[in-house]
């Protein structure tokens, strides 16, 4: 339509007009124009019915290598501005003392000692805790340490995560809400020559992004400006408008670079935004930075849900899978939020079961069910959401069934993949090639495979694992990806590498536990261990050529790594780790 508009404007044939690097040009007449200058004319034209898209062979940017990120230089020089770097005139820095348990509230507090700390300006109660206002960060933190508070724990979660887990396990052994069912699973299992059963436990996980949550507000009764790495600014705007009494169209949100998020900066409840707004409202017109510490970030919830899977399956005398039953138990991420309507499907949170339904494998008699647990611990999407546990349970249990049937892990999967799932098949075949797969091996380094579709993309991984002093150490990972048209291949590879590192971190080390009484045990990186450089394997990524629509890449590397590692590890120990993380402090 831009070409058509230019053709009419310049009275030249549309067919003679070229478009390169944002410029519409007619070579013969020497006329040229940027898009903006003719956009309005183009918008006035009739929409064409049939459009011939550019031939992929003529792409110059899509799929190009050697493209560096626009933020690459400033981030290597420490010049990129994150929220924590925003400074306003007369800005107060605020630290909030939060209740020590989920669901607890302020009962009473004594601000005297905090107010004695030099640099502390004020102490105020807000709905989520007690806010200490100070001239700088250090004073705010010292003031918070000096606060004396008592808490009302009448509505608090006081169980340990072990107790919560026991409740979930009991629920996994009872009938749950069916999400997907074909055939008579119970009959299939009772007819089987051999049956198998396993229970898996996945802990709460913190996102632990490097930049703790933070935000800046500067406001007058007429207008408000917010600086924060908010992933859903449309949720945030009304929160500030309501809290500050500023008209919604006078609230502007500067969406800053996020020092990592992995889902944490996108709560439907607007948890952090509400606290930031409350801090600003209680302080009156002015400028405020609300700075969470690592401890706030880690103890204030919104975790990957603690999850239990119970799987049962059977084999017939020929080693074919007769029936497959997967019961998933956890809290719903969508429940009680604005996303509940769209995410809940016949009483099942799709984010809880995603990756355990719609499998590529032909399992004619199968059932997937979900039981919802409700407690005050806030839960949230965490890079790859439900796939973080469903891929593990499905791909390790299947691997064991294939082994019990005497089948090869790759060949056995290929035989199970249904004809309509050619893209799953292709990435699995490709990764087997890349790693020269001929089984797990029996040397110092063993291989394990996993296949998992998420966010519309198909990923197969093979992990090479060593036994280092009785614990798995991953040396190499091969990864074949089909994510449709690969727009920026190097960024895709980077995301896959990071996604694998993120998934490996959870597989090996991460867990967020509640102590008896309900306080969070892991408060900083000393106890909440995340993957370090020494644990990062070599990663070889192959992106399949494709003309399909582009699909997700940010999260898809994460789900298959844990099961691939577990399957390799089983070859050393004979057992699948039923509980993550594999290495516990």
């Amino acid at each position: 339509m831009l070409v058509e508009a230019a053709a009419r404007l310049w009275s030249v044939p549309a067919g003679e007009i070229t478009v390169t690097a944002g410029v519409v040009r007619h070579a013969a007449s020497g006329m040229s124009s940027g898009f903006g200058a003719i956009a309005e004319r183009a918008a006035g034209l009739e929409m064409p019915q049939n459009v011939t898209l550019k031939d992929p062979a003529d792409f110059t940017l899509i799929g190009a290598e050697g493209i560096t990120r626009l933020d690459a230089v400033e981030k290597a020089r420490g010049l990129a501005t994150f929220t924590i770097d925003v400074m306003r005139d007369e800005m107060q820095v605020v630290a909030v003392l939060h209740p020590p348990k989920f669901g607890a509230k302020v009962a009473s507090f004594d601000p005297v000692e905090a107010l004695d700390v030099s640099g502390v300006l004020a102490v105020r109660e807000i709905p989520s805790g007690i806010a200490v206002y100070a001239v700088d960060t250090y004073s705010a933190l010292r003031g918070r340490e000096a606060l004396v508070a008592a808490w009302d724990e009448s509505a608090a979660e006081t169980r340990s995560s072990e107790e919560i887990e026991a409740e979930f396990i009991a629920a996994a052994r009872a009938p749950a809400t069916v999400s997907e069912e074909t055939g008579d699973v119970e009959a299939a299992l009772s007819e089987s020559a051999q049956t198998f059963e396993a229970e898996y436990v996945f802990p709460y996980l913190a996102h632990a992004a490097m930049e703790p949550l933070d935000g800046v507000v500067e406001w007058t009764p007429e207008r408000a400006e917010i600086w924060s790495a908010i992933q859903i600014p449309t949720v945030a705007g009304p929160v500030f408008s309501a809290a500050l009494g500023v008209a919604e169209d006078a609230v502007s949100v500067h969406t800053m670079y996020a020092g990592g998020s992995f889902g944490r900066r996108a709560t439907a409840s607007g948890q952090f935004e509400a606290e930031l707004a409350a801090v600003a409202a209680a302080g009156g017109p002015g400028a405020y930075k609300l700075q969470w510490t690592r401890e706030d970030d880690m103890t204030q919830g919104y975790y990957r849900p603690l999850t239990v899977h119970r799987l049962r399956a059977g084999l017939d005398t020929d080693g074919n899978i007769t029936g497959w039953d997967n019961t998933i138990v956890n809290q719903s991420i969508a429940f009680g939020t604005i996303f509940e309507q769209t995410v809940m499907n016949d009483g099942v949170d799709r984010m809880a079961v995603e990756g355990s339904v719609d499998l590529p494998y032909g399992l004619p008699r199968r059932r997937v069910s979900w039981a919802q647990m409700i407690n005050p611990v806030p839960v949230l999407w965490w890079r790859a959401v439900g796939h973080t546990h469903t891929a593990y349970a499905t791909e390790t249990f299947l691997d064991e069934l294939l082994a019990a049937a005497g089948r090869d892990a790759v060949q056995g999967r290929l035989e199970l993949i249904t004809p309509d799932r050619a893209r799953d098949r292709a990435v699995l075949e490709r990764v087997a090639d890349m790693a020269a797969w001929s089984g797990p091996g029996n040397g110092d380094r063993r291989l394990g495979v996993a296949l998992h579709k998420s966010f519309g993309s198909y990923v197969a991984q093979i992990a090479e694992v060593e036994n280092r002093d009785g614990a798995p150490h991953v040396t190499r990972v091969w990864c074949a990806v089909d994510c449709g048209v690969a727009v920026t291949p190097d960024i895709i590879r980077a995301q896959i590498e990071g996604g694998i590192g993120f998934g490996l971190s959870a597989a090996l080390y991460e867990q967020l536990t509640l102590e008896p009484g309900g306080t969070v045990r892991e408060r900083n990186y000393d106890s909440y261990r995340v993957l370090g450089l020494e644990d990062m394997p070599q990663i070889i990524v192959d992106i399949r050529p494709s003309t399909d629509i582009p699909t997700g890449v940010g999260e898809i590397g994460t789900p298959p790594i844990a099961p691939a590692v577990a399957n390799a590890w089983r070859s050393f120990t004979g057992e699948t780790p039923r509980r993550l993380p594999m290495i516990r402090a």
Binding site: Y138, S261, F262, F502, M536
Partner: protein, 153 residues
């Protein structure tokens, strides 16, 4: 009580509580925000600065301890090694969120200043203490090697 020191080659006087961690003095009082806060307990390396040429975690270094010292932050690093590291970091798309990278670049620069041709083990040993939650570790290793090659050329 005022503390005198040199920051990025410029003499400065910090009139703050001597117990204040250098991190917050740099950020809040000298407005040098390239140095980041990640944990506050010497676990992540995001706050790394050079203190008399040695990579140091500024979150646990009180201002009182840097009297008369020379502090270099990400804003002030110079020289061939620093430039090679920063160029390699950009060329190889090392950064994702980028928040840890000031600290990574500081440590990588110091490594190459002392060992221009580090072995894989030396790279892992030097860089091993800096957390990157985006797990850019594969490219951090590559970046150090590329910078090392560039320094040799």
């Amino acid at each position: 009580m005022a503390t005198r020191l040199t920051v990025n080659g410029t003499p400065v006087t910090l009139d703050v509580n001597p117990d204040m961690p250098l991190l917050w003095a740099l950020r809040d009082h000298l407005k040098l925000t390239g140095t980041k806060f990640g944990c506050g307990i010497a676990q992540c390396g995001a706050c790394t600065v050079m203190l008399d040429g040695v990579p140091t975690r500024s979150c646990v270094t009180p201002v009182a301890a840097v009297e008369d010292a020379e502090v270099t932050t990400i804003e002030g690093i110079q020289g061939d090694a620093a430039h090679a590291v920063q160029k390699a970091w950009a060329d190889l798309n090392v950064a994702q969120c980028g928040y840890c990278q000031s600290g990574q670049v500081m440590v990588a620069t110091e490594l190459l200043q002392n060992i221009p041709k580090p072995s894989d083990e030396e790279i892992d040993a030097a860089m091993g203490g800096n957390i990157c939650r985006c797990a850019t570790y594969a490219r951090i290793r590559k970046g150090v090697r590329a910078a090392s090659d560039a320094l040799e050329a």
